[in-house]
């Protein structure tokens, strides 16, 4: 299996907002692909990065670590990072890790663009 097969990620840009949308589990196998895409995005930072998690049924601490890293990159770049459309099962790991208050979290993509 190639990296693409591990975790397909689409990317869209409009009006200073970049949306990354992974489709699949963000675990030890999928997280490196997400990490690479986030790094790419911040090589030329947008005003806002939205990570659309609506098609992520599962995330483990590798995924969470990748998002914490993303938040640090966003802070350095003076950009806003928003997590959108999180499924309940994924929300649970943010709660266990006490990180549910650290991220900007939006119900869906539309709400994310207003944050």
């Amino acid at each position: 299996m190639t990296a693409e097969e591990n975790l397909p990620i689409t990317i869209e840009n409009s009006d200073g907002t970049t949306v990354l949308k992974p489709s699949g589990d963000v675990d030890l196998s999928g997280a490196p692909e997400l990490r690479a895409r986030i790094a790419e995005v911040f090589s030329d930072p947008p005003a806002r990065l939205v990570i659309d998690l609506s098609e992520v049924p599962y995330m483990d601490s590798s995924g969470v670590a990748t998002l914490v890293e993303g938040m640090q990159l966003a802070n350095q770049a003076g950009a806003t990072l928003v997590l959108a459309g999180m499924q309940d099962r994924v929300k649970s790991i943010f709660e266990i890790a006490r990180l549910d208050t650290v991220f900007k979290i939006a119900e869906d993509l539309t709400a994310a663009k207003e944050l």
Binding site: L28, S29, A65, E95
Partner: protein, 158 residues
Amino acid sequence: MSETPPDLTIQLRSKPRLLSSVRGMVLSLTQRVGFDENACGHIALAIDEALANIIRHGYEHREEEPIHMSIWVLQGEAKGIRIMIEDEAEQVDPELIQGRDLEDVRPGGLGVHIMREIMDDCRFEKRQQSQGMRVIMEKYVNPGRPDGSSLPSSTQET
């Protein structure tokens, strides 16, 4: 109790892409044992974290190394599940296996914390061989402990 032979044993190689198969198995098994949906997901997460740590720290991302899992379905009063996961990596002091302070937000350092928070019991040991670590985790359907059901169950709203 560990002397009873396990109901299931699994050997897998240290490939990250096999983790989803183990989670699929654990989700079905825990549902069968009688855990609620939330608990099933949590147990699969704890086991995934244990395996990911072995791949990352024990085997430093080498993909062909052996991992051994043994699973017991616990019957009777203390209905639940016991999982033992063993590797053949270099031994480390079990005391050194611990996560970061949760207040100190930075990437990493969450896995062990998650395992301990989810499971009713979670202990690391050196195996009786010269190589290899072992983690034993237990979770009960109805833990008769005051803190047993204190895990955040995810909510509908943000």
